[in-house]
């Protein structure tokens, strides 16, 4: 308990002038000091004396005897706070003054008792650390204790202001607790402990009113659609197309108008517009219907292989497949056949007449194997067609040669029935029937061009320049060794009549021309008046001359003199001669073998030869038309499928499938791979030819 002391200090020299109130540690020392002058033990005695005053006086033997005057002397006692044991004259050396100086103030504290306690202030660092270590349990305990204390608080507070001391103490304690509670909980309302009353009042509650409003619901329509992979794809495609259209902005406006116009049309005229859009679908359906009707033929075409060929040794047969006929072409005869190189099932038929007396109209008809009842395209012409050729690279361009000497080019992509280009008498048309046309490679200006040969003795090259046909005479066929048979001095015709020609497959400038006189001339595009070579081929007009597809030296020719001859162009005599007992209309090499070729005769037979198998006879001789009177006029091999088409003079085209024996590949020794490719074919032919060049005795 802190007790305040009052001290009267008499100043004295060398002693403390002030009395200091020391900060109190635990206890304060009560210092009673007296004057140092009288440092004797009498004070205790005196005190004892005073104390013993009421009792009998007992004088100790060694007590001082003092006079009464001395006894009455008053001695002043001063209580100072000076420590009697503290030295009064501590001296320190001062470096400044270089002398010893007495310290002004000397520590007067005397510690009587010292005890290290183990209490920590709650806000000190160490206390906080300890609290943190001990964690929550202590907090809760403090909370619990705090709540208890709060309860204690309230009754204390309720006591009022009477017990000030107690309340102060309680307040002090509660103050401590409330500090705790503050730190532990949220702030509680600090209430005035002395003068507090809680009084609540309630305000008027405004009456609640609800007010709502409803808008008109937006117009709704239900929409349903499916989201498929392809619908998404379609939308994207449309978007792309729209974007592309937007790029061509110039066309955007009129297109929109067109669309609107179209919409109107479709609404109003639903009947008439619809059918044009059905065209494509109708075509597909027609093919399907035909496929059903001719199902067995289609199956045969694809899959049938004549099994009996194994028993027939080396002979083969031709299986008739579709028959193509067109009503409007009934009186005409097939004068030209050509397969399309790009679309392997499409072929062109030229219809006209070989008969000099029966010249009339003609027709250009295209058939597809997929539909044998009706042609894909047909173009009626005023004059009979004698020859045609389809461009190898541009399958929509067809060159046609007419009986009246004109040549024309048709474009299949266009809808109109007239040809795109046609030669006229001004532009160098032939004066005699055109017997053969052939497309050539594009010239240097990328114009398409083709050649034609005619009975007027000219071989002409036609170039498609923009919208015109420009002609160039390549060669004029002159009679070699003219026989002057002209009656009565009429000069003999100096021009030969070309009846067929063919260009070499590899050597572009080299070509052969067959003439009506039965000669074959080997010509070059470079030389316009001279032939490279002439072969005395036949006795009658050369109907067809064809280079071999593989071997670069071999060509074949046929004529109405019943013969088919095979030549090596370096040798002036034929290598092979075949007599077919009837006028041979056409001959064709096969595209798959260098030794196979087929010929058609006027007695309605097709002869197929394979020189690799049989050098003297045909391996197949088969009549293919019903009536024996029909003459077969043309034959063509399909470049891909093993079928041939044969045209006759009644306007029919018959397709036939070659049996396996006719398509035989050379047998190799077992164990070796079958070599393929044109080299093999060339080698095959070469072998044959070499056999012939050897002396006759060694023929196998």
């Amino acid at each position: 308990m802190p007790v305040t002391h009052k001290t009267l200090v008499k100043s004295k020299q060398g002693s403390n002038a002030q009395s200091q109130q020391k900060p109190l540690a635990a206890k304060t020392a009560k210092v009673v000091s007296k004057k140092k002058d009288e440092d004797d033990g009498t004070e205790i005695g005196e005190g004892g004396d005073e104390w013993m005053h009421g009792k009998t006086l007992i004088k100790p033997p060694d007590q001082l005897d003092l006079t009464e005057a001395e006894l009455k002397e008053e001695f002043t006692r001063i209580l100072t706070a000076n420590n009697p044991h503290a030295p009064q004259n501590i001296v320190r050396y001062s470096f400044k003054e270089r002398s010893y100086k007495p310290i002004s103030s000397v520590d007067q504290l005397a510690v009587h008792f010292f005890l290290e306690g183990n209490l920590l202030h709650r806000d000190s660092d160490e206390a906080r650390r300890q609290k943190a270590k001990q964690g929550l349990p202590d907090e809760k305990a403090t909370v619990v204790t705090e709540t208890e204390d709060e309860k204690l608080e309230t009754p204390l507070q309720a006591a009022g202001g009477e017990e000030a001391g107690d309340v102060e103490e309680g307040g002090g304690e509660d103050g401590a607790h409330s500090v705790d509670s503050k730190t532990g909980k949220k702030e509680q309302k600090l209430t005035n402990q002395f003068n507090f009353s809680e009084r609540a009042s309630q305000t008027l509650n405004n009456p609640l009113r609800e007010r709502g409003c409803q808008t008109e619901p937006p117009p709704r329509a239900s929409f349903s659609a499916t989201a498929n992979q392809w619908e998404i794809y379609d939308v994207y495609l449309e978007e792309m197309q729209k974007q592309e259209k937007n790029k061509e902005k110039a066309k955007a406006v009129p297109k929109k108008e067109d669309d609107k116009g179209k919409k109107k049309l479709t609404l109003v005229e639903t009947q008439s517009d619809d059918l044009t859009k059905v065209a494509k679908v109708a075509k597909i359906i027609e093919r399907m219907v035909n496929q059903n009707t001719f199902d067995d033929i289609a199956q045969d075409f694809r899959y049938f292989e004549d099994a009996s060929d194994e028993f027939r040794e080396q002979e083969g047969t031709l299986l008739p497949l579709w028959k193509f006929q067109y009503d409007q072409a009934k009186r005409l005869s097939v004068t030209a056949l050509c397969w399309n190189q790009s679309y392997k099932d499409l072929f062109a038929v030229g219809l006209g007449s070989y008969d000099f007396t029966k010249q009339g109209r003609g027709m250009l008809v295209f058939y597809s194997l997929k539909n044998s009842t009706y042609p894909e395209y047909n173009y009626p012409t005023t004059s009979g067609i004698l020859c045609l050729d389809i461009h190898p690279d541009r399958p929509y361009l067809v060159a046609v040669g007419f009986y009246d000497g004109c040549v024309a080019v048709y474009n299949l992509k266009e809808e109109r029935p007239e040809p795109v280009y046609k030669s006229s008498s001004k532009s160098g048309k032939h004066t005699d029937p055109v017997w053969q046309v052939r497309w050539q490679k594009d010239d240097m200006d990328n114009h398409q061009n083709f050649f034609s040969v005619s009975s007027d003795g000219r071989v002409v090259s036609w170039t498609l320049v923009k919208s015109e046909l420009v002609f160039t005479d390549i060669i004029k066929l002159s009679l070699v060794g003219a026989v002057s048979e002209g009656p009565e001095g009429v000069p003999p015709p100096t021009m030969a009549c070309g009846t067929s020609f063919d260009f070499h497959k590899q050597i572009n400038y080299l070509f052969l021309v067959g003439t009506e006189e039965g000669k074959i001339h080997k010509c070059s595009k470079a030389y316009s008046s001279q032939f490279l070579e002439t072969y005395d081929a036949h006795n009658m007009a050369v109907d067809a001359v064809k280079w071999n597809q593989f071997h670069p030296k071999v060509f074949i020719s046929c004529s109405s003199d019943w013969t088919v001859k095979i030549w090596d162009h370096t040798i002036r005599t034929p290598v092979f001669i075949f007599d077919l007992n009837a006028a041979v209309g056409d001959v064709a090499w096969s595209p798959y073998s260098s030794t196979v070729f087929a010929a058609v005769t006027a007695d309605g037979k097709v002869h197929v030869f394979d020189l690799g198998i049989n050098k003297y006879e045909a391996i197949c001789q088969q009549p293919v038309v019903a009536k024996k009177k029909t003459k077969l006029t043309h034959i063509e091999f399909n470049p891909v499928y093993p079928i041939i088409i044969v045209g006759d003079d009644r306007g029919y085209v018959t397709s036939l499938k070659l049996s396996p024996n006719l398509r035989s590949k050379p047998k190799e020794k077992k164990g070796q791979e079958l070599p393929r490719g044109p080299e093999v074919e060339i080698a095959k032919m070469e072998k044959l030819l070499s056999l012939l060049r050897e002396p006759e005795n060694s023929k196998a």
Binding site: L275, T276, I285, M288, T293
Partner: protein, 96 residues
């Protein structure tokens, strides 16, 4: 346009063909050679089937599209060729 008419005529007169129906995009028959009730029945049923078939084909590969559909039954064969706007149905007896 006359060509299309001719083609349709040829199909109708082809061997074994029982009837042809042209149906528009909504499944309503426009042209037919059969009687009304049969036409409506064929058109409705085949339209749904064709849409389903087309959806199937395109789901597998959106760049692909249905070219035609053949249903061969004991008695005859139904051939459907769909188009963007129209559909052509032909019923044929192939064995005749």
């Amino acid at each position: 346009q006359a060509e299309v008419e001719e083609t349709l005529k040829r199909i109708q007169t082809h061997k074994g063909v029982i009837g042809t129906i042209v149906v528009n995009a909504e499944g309503i028959p426009i042209r037919t050679t059969l009687d009304n009730s049969t036409t409506v029945q064929y058109a409705g049923l085949l339209h749904q089937l064709t849409m389903k078939a087309r959806s199937t084909v395109r789901d597998i590969d959106p760049q692909n599209d249905l070219t035609f559909l053949r249903i061969r039954s004991k008695k005859h064969e139904i051939m459907v060729a769909p188009d963007k706007e129209y559909m052509l149905i032909v019923i044929q007896n192939p064995s005749e």
